[in-house]
Symmetry: C2
Amino acid sequence: MSERYTLHEDPCSGNCYKIKLTAALLSTPLETKQYDILAGETRTEDFLENVNLNGRIPVLQIDGGGQSRFLPESNAVCWYLAHGSRLIPQDRLGQADMLRWMFFEQYNHEPNLATLRFWMRFVGEANLSDRQRAQIETKRSAGNDALRVMDEHLAGRDFLSGDSVSLADIALFPYTHLAEEGGFALRSFRHLRAWITRIEALPGFAPMA
Amino acid sequence: MSERYTLHEDPCSGNCYKIKLTAALLSTPLETKQYDILAGETRTEDFLENVNLNGRIPVLQIDGGGQSRFLPESNAVCWYLAHGSRLIPQDRLGQADMLRWMFFEQYNHEPNLATLRFWMRFVGEANLSDRQRAQIETKRSAGNDALRVMDEHLAGRDFLSGDSVSLADIALFPYTHLAEEGGFALRSFRHLRAWITRIEALPGFAPMA
């Protein structure tokens, strides 16, 4: 069955980049439709009703068999696109171990690294609310913990899960390689820096726009 | 291959309960080893070195073939235990849609509902740090948003993903049915309340200890 994919995205978002990187590594054609998060374009009545009730991007629109279906959540979209490919291990423990890093990404990594990048680079520190400002130190410390866990895990390993690149690496690459935009220092994480270089050297790698 | 499973857990944790509920619904034998999070028992050198570098539970210990392997992250453990079972849809979109709710759980739900429950019920509001106190309103509002998204999605549906119970429901059940311990009101979410009753009526359902 032939399907057509349209990614509803904001090009500034690392969560959207994950999906474009998955598609690039698999040579899967992917159209895109851009939204401006800061301008509230993902909170309109039309978006909430037809694209994602949760008011968030990325969302993958899957057209085929005469219907359109909409799949939210960046890591679930990567899973869908990579179905049956070398980016998902086929063995039971390998698959669970890869998912382990993808859940780690959503819980320990993204809320700290992506949020601080968004605040520092796009909102501007001077424009933060008191409530946001009160969270900076907590997010700084938790984000550094997540980077340290990855760095220690990567000592003696080329990739986060298994012996070759998988969705675990793709999920964690975007906001790790953008960490310095959020004020994190990658200097002291040498295994992480080597891993970033390794990902960037993959055949088919596409840089963030 | 026969494997033996030991769950490293804290019985107060909803993340650990997810795994016990998965095992109960599948009649999979599961031994448990208890830790007290508040007493720092998951931050000891031994735990960090041998069980989980990230200092967190739950972790599933898988014994078989003469070796022990350790799998962290509650949702990855549920995935491992439910491999090949009716709790994971076999079709490509069904699987991705189920994972969508499991990522939603880790990003939009758990950090708000589980954290407020932990602070209100176990730490005590009077003992919170200023930094924690400053996050209450943000977490209250984001937690209510997550409950609303689930409630609206469940209007006219019996389960979160597909036509039967899946890991999507199991991942979201624990902290939803405990929401009131964190100060959330389930009163106005009638589809959610019906879904909770539906989960509790499943054959093999095990309540939280």
